[in-house]
């Protein structure tokens, strides 16, 4: 049809062009500025919201997730939900609240298989290596085991019993001759599935799964632990302690 088009299409004057461009740029920038502010504020994930197993780091996840909900539909236990607008999760992204429904740690990881973009990374090979969060015995004062009782529920429901959560014996100073079995989480093994939090019999769970960035401390990068360095080097890194002669009163 190009041949039939008129010779000179309607011309836009330079003034008109600049006005139009100016309007477009200003208008959409204003909208963009508002959006940017909102997106920065909504980026902080609430502490009770956990990402599916294998999810990229929060920042990468928000770039990768297309909010399609395929993982939610793939989840056989209705664990995963999609964040809604005005909720403390980025709109449309999948999360779970361990206190409501924890992750059942399916061996075939269906949510990961369903993800079309790799936001739930295919690099996670075994569900036991997942790090959705870290269980923390956040309220030692109210935990029944710290009262000297043998509740042990969090320990027993843990899919990695005696590995991710162990019971460490401490002296019960209240009675003076009993023991306390303190649930102790080992961060390198805990997957953050949240079964312990879900099962905790207290009104408000004493053990909670938190996102790793909140739950974990980090050693100063320049710190060196002497005993590890010593083992690696096969011997002490510094000279033996100088043994100065003792000068006691009465000796020369």
């Amino acid at each position: 049809m190009a041949a039939k088009k008129p010779q000179a299409p309607r011309k836009t004057s330079r003034r008109q062009f600049i006005t139009d461009v100016g309007r477009g740029v200003c208008g959409s920038s204003l909208l963009g500025l508002g959006l940017a502010t909102y997106s920065k504020q909504s980026q902080s994930l609430a502490a009770q919201c956990l990402r599916p197993p294998g999810a990229l780091t929060e920042e990468e996840f928000l770039a990768a997730c297309v909010r399609c909900g395929l993982c939610v539909e793939a989840c056989p236990y209705d664990t995963l939900k999609l964040g809604k607008i005005f909720e403390p999760v980025t709109t449309g992204t999948p999360y779970f609240d361990a206190n409501v429904i924890p992750c059942e740690m399916c061996e075939d990881i269906p949510c990961q298989t369903a993800c079309p973009t790799g936001a739930i990374s295919p690099e996670l090979k075994s569900i036991d290596d997942a790090q959705m969060g870290l269980a923390v015995l956040i309220d030692r004062e109210n935990c029944l085991n710290t009262q000297g009782l043998r509740c042990d529920i969090c320990h027993r429901v843990c899919p990695l019993i005696d590995e991710a959560i162990t019971l460490e014996i401490e002296r019960n100073t209240r009675t003076g001759f009993h023991a306390m079995f303190i649930p102790t989480v080992h961060s390198e093994l805990c997957t953050g599935c949240g079964k312990c939090e879900h099962a905790c019999p207290l009104e408000e769970a004493a053990i909670k799964v938190l996102p790793l960035e909140i739950a974990k401390g980090e050693l100063g990068h320049h710190y060196r632990l002497g005993w590890i360095e010593k083992n690696q080097a096969g011997g002490s890194l510094i000279d033996e302690v100088l043994d100065l002669p003792d000068r006691l009163p009465g000796t020369k």
Partner: protein
């Protein structure tokens, strides 16, 4: 603006005949929603996911290419599934007309169409002037923001995905955004959202720029200038030249990519001026 649009067409073709494509469109829009909903509701999984990314019959991946572009801009390299899915969707709209998405698939069209219907019924004429090119600026903004912020900022408030996702996975307070669009279209700007602002529509506009399937005013000499098609058309500027531009050398085909191929113009025309056609055979006719 006439209150009773398409009365002549109804008299001539009957109510069904004069609403054929409108009804088909509603069936398509609601049908697609229903296919997505049947999974979670009745455990019949024909389509999984939502419009952002889905799987048809557990095999064919489909991903919204605009969504994937935002993700790319945010710095993520997607898995192959999403890339293949985006290519499938892109090819579909490249062939059938980009903005076919807007009129036959997008659920927000139900909202904006009802706003426009009510506008006609209430005889609201006031409309703030806003350039139809605004949407391309918004599109640019939605693709630049992820690059700067590293997150798909637009998807926080994108009414299209909020609506579609909301129907399937729970709406929450998402309806606030949808009511906002309804009122914006009703009170502020005629065809405001879909015709002026929506970056997804602008994206599919570009995708369908060279689509071979078009509407043509092939019998424009029979046009009695009742202007009903202009009243119902969501992008009435596309009709002007194909209908009345013969003297200026314009062909009868609606070439503008703004056209959503909703073909409501065929419905309301009592003179059968319009038909759906492809570009290639028309070219052949011209050559004869």
């Amino acid at each position: 603006m006439k209150a009773s649009v398409g009365q002549e067409a109804i008299d001539k073709k009957g109510w069904l005949g004069a609403h054929k494509f409108l009804l088909l469109r509603r069936v398509s829009q609601l049908g697609i929603l229903a296919l997505f909903l049947m999974g979670p509701l009745y455990d019949i999984w024909i389509l999984k996911g939502n419009l952002s990314s889905s799987v048809l019959l557990d095999t064919i991946p489909m991903t919204d290419p605009f969504m994937l572009l935002q993700s790319l801009s945010a710095g993520h390299t997607p898995e192959l599934t999403a890339i293949i899915g985006a290519l499938i969707v892109f090819s579909f709209y490249f062939i059938f007309g980009g903005r076919v998405f807007c009129s036959w698939v997008c659920p927000v069209n139900l909202i904006t169409d009802s706003a426009h219907w009510l506008r006609r019924k209430l005889k609201i004429r006031a409309s703030t002037k806003l350039s139809r090119k605004t949407r391309f600026w918004v599109l640019a903004m939605t693709l630049i923001l992820p690059f700067i912020l590293g997150t798909m900022a637009w998807e926080l408030i994108n009414p299209v995905s909020i609506f579609h996702r909301g129907v399937i996975f729970g709406m929450g307070l998402g309806w606030v955004v949808l009511v906002g669009i309804f009122l914006f279209d009703l009170m502020l700007v005629e065809h405001g959202w879909c015709g002026h602002i929506c970056p997804l529509g602008a994206f599919y506009n570009i995708v369908g720029r060279y689509s071979p399937i078009k509407v043509s005013a092939y019998q424009r000499d029979k046009c009695d200038k009742c202007m009903d098609c202009f009243t119902v058309c969501p992008e009435p500027q596309v009709l002007k030249m194909p209908l009345f531009g013969e003297g200026k050398g314009y062909g009868p085909m609606i070439e503008s990519a703004d056209c959503t191929n909703c073909v409501r113009c065929i419905d309301v025309c009592s003179q059968d001026v319009f038909k759906i056609t492809t570009r290639l055979p028309i070219m052949a006719e011209v050559k004869q």
